[in-house]
């Protein structure tokens, strides 16, 4: 069991609705509504889903950057969800986050040196000035940047370079888990590939675990060992990469995968076009959240919330089709 780094159980994060000028309201945005998964050491778990489905909130709640509303989070064997802030602080640096927007994730008034030294200071407040300088150099080299760049300000870098600095800052405190919240979505494809490679290299060298959040199925598929698909604050399917791509079970996963345009003009295949929009997380449909757009929806989907079922080893799906009733259906379809 000791190879489980992070275990999330029934995580819930709700936000009070802020409408117009007035804050308080009884209604809640259920951004994350009962998410459970585990992450092993050295593993990458991909988290995909459409905008607003709660991916970022999940990542942030795990790090307690947002206080979760409910559920438990166990990290390195300790339950961190109810820890006091003081006790949590030393653990906090064991997990770090890399953000989507390379322009907003660095303090524009701080040099690279300053930003990295600050992080190093957190790791070891006693570190000497020289040691810090050396380590800054080392970190920059590790993420593939010229060590001379240390004295520069963020606006002097391109997006890809900034993303590297962000990664260096996260690495400075020697974490075991990195939550990468869409780290490549804002980058051009050519740069995107560079960063993905860098992340993979670092993982191998440092034995990191990633919670890799993205809406780009291609990237997720490339980097992840296992993938979780989210819809409206819930995980609808979670499986190893191979399982998920060869045998997507949830109708949403299926539609999602077919909707991605393929960079291949010869393989124009039939797409499953979902009708309608994603409902608002402030107003999640009862029953299965996906039933409003699902072509297989039956009566039960409109009333009963499905639970995760183990469809095959390590392959969980949250759909009524895969209750005892639904298994038959799969049989028919795979034939």
């Amino acid at each position: 069991m000791s190879d489980i780094l992070l275990s999330v159980n029934d995580l819930k994060t709700y936000f009070p609705i802020s409408k117009g000028l007035f804050r308080n309201s009884d209604e809640m945005i259920k951004a994350v509504d009962g998410v459970s998964f585990q992450l092993r050491k050295g593993e990458t778990l991909g988290l995909v889903g459409e905008s607003g489905c709660g991916k970022s909130t999940t990542g942030r709640s795990i790090m307690r950057l947002i206080e979760p509303t409910g559920g438990t989070i166990e990290f390195e064997g300790q339950n961190i969800s109810e820890m006091s802030a003081a006790r949590f602080r030393p653990l906090r640096k064991r997990m770090q986050i890399v953000f989507q927007d390379p322009y907003a994730s660095l303090n524009p008034r701080m040099t690279v040196q300053g930003a990295l030294e600050e992080a190093l200071g957190v790791k070891d407040p006693q570190m000497s000035a020289k040691e810090r300088r050396d380590q800054v150099k080392e970190l920059l080299q590790m993420v593939g940047l010229n060590a001379q760049y240390a004295t520069r300000f963020p606006h002097e870098f391109s997006g890809g370079q900034r993303q590297r600095i962000g990664i260096a800052r996260a690495l400075a405190v020697e974490p075991s888990l990195i939550v990468a919240d869409e780290p490549v979505s804002a980058l051009d494809v050519s740069i995107q590939a560079q960063i993905v490679n860098l992340l993979q290299d670092l993982q191998q060298r440092l034995g990191l675990s990633y919670l890799f959040i993205s809406h780009d199925l291609g990237v997720v598929r490339h980097i992840s060992d296992r993938i979780a698909v989210m819809y409206l604050g819930r995980i609808v399917e979670i499986a190893s990469k191979k399982d998920l791509f060869t045998r997507p079970l949830h109708p949403y996963t299926e539609a999602l995968m077919s909707a991605v345009p393929k960079a291949n003009p010869f393989r124009k295949k039939e797409r499953i076009v979902l009708s309608g929009d994603v409902p608002s997380p402030a107003n999640v449909p009862v029953g299965c959240a996906f039933h409003t757009r699902c072509s297989y929806a039956t009566e039960i989907c409109r009333t009963v919330r499905p639970v995760a079922t183990l469809a095959s080893p390590q392959h969980y799906v949250t759909c009524h089709l895969y209750g005892t009733e639904g298994m038959k259906y799969i049989e028919n379809r795979t034939n």
Binding site: P90, R92, I97, Q100, N107, M110, Q148, Y149, A170
Partner: protein, 284 residues
Amino acid sequence: MLNSNRPESYWGGMGKRLRRNKTAMAGVVILIVFTLGSLLAPVIAPHPVEQMNFNSRLSAPSLTHLLGTDDFGRDIFSRLLHGGRISLLMGLITVVLSTLVGVTLGIIAGYYRRADLFIMQGMDILMSLPALLLAIAVIAVLGPGLTNAMIAVVIAVIPSYVRVVRSAVLSIREKEYIEAVRALGIRDWQILLKHVLPNILSPIIVLSTIQFGVSILAAAALSFLGLGAQPPMPEWGAMVFVGKAFLSQAWWMSIFPGLAIMLVVLGFNLLGDGLRDAFDPKTR
């Protein structure tokens, strides 16, 4: 490629943009002239400020008295020079004080939800009274006088600082880099000091420049109402007030101090506008 020509640093670039901005430079020139004039007042003033000369009462501008004399025969030009010290110093002190208080409160309100409600309610209360009336009420309590006028102005302008700072903090707070340092486990006060404060500096500087003008105007208005500077202090607002009684016989008594106020305030506003443009990342 990036090492070939090093892009300018943040402040350096700002200074350059400011220097290119003609209106801002006009403001700077006005302010330099007035600051020098008042700093050097004892040296360049042609007559001692308080010297009365009943024989040359209310004499029109001439070579001996560039801007004429007042009802005691005092030289208005000399008084204006000395008065500049009062107005500028008063502006400076009120701005420093209100910045200190306003920024502290604004940062706290912006960063801590719970304090926010409390502080903003307080500001709402202050804001719901017209600023000048609030100042007059404060002076009624403390008594007229320059110091009290400054306190009154400070109290009256604090809410605007708090609001500006708070909204700046609120927007900075949502920035990912703040979240990143929170993730590192940096303590709140350090975040406020090292990451929030430097990033809200530009709106504060811009606001302060403009508040400088506002404070000078407000203090002048209070002196005009007889609540600020005390005689024989050559405060400009007070000079306009006194000169007002002599409008038909000695227009120079109120025209020139009024003009001086307007020019200085204009200088600060021009500078403030220029700074705003220079700071604004969108114009970069």
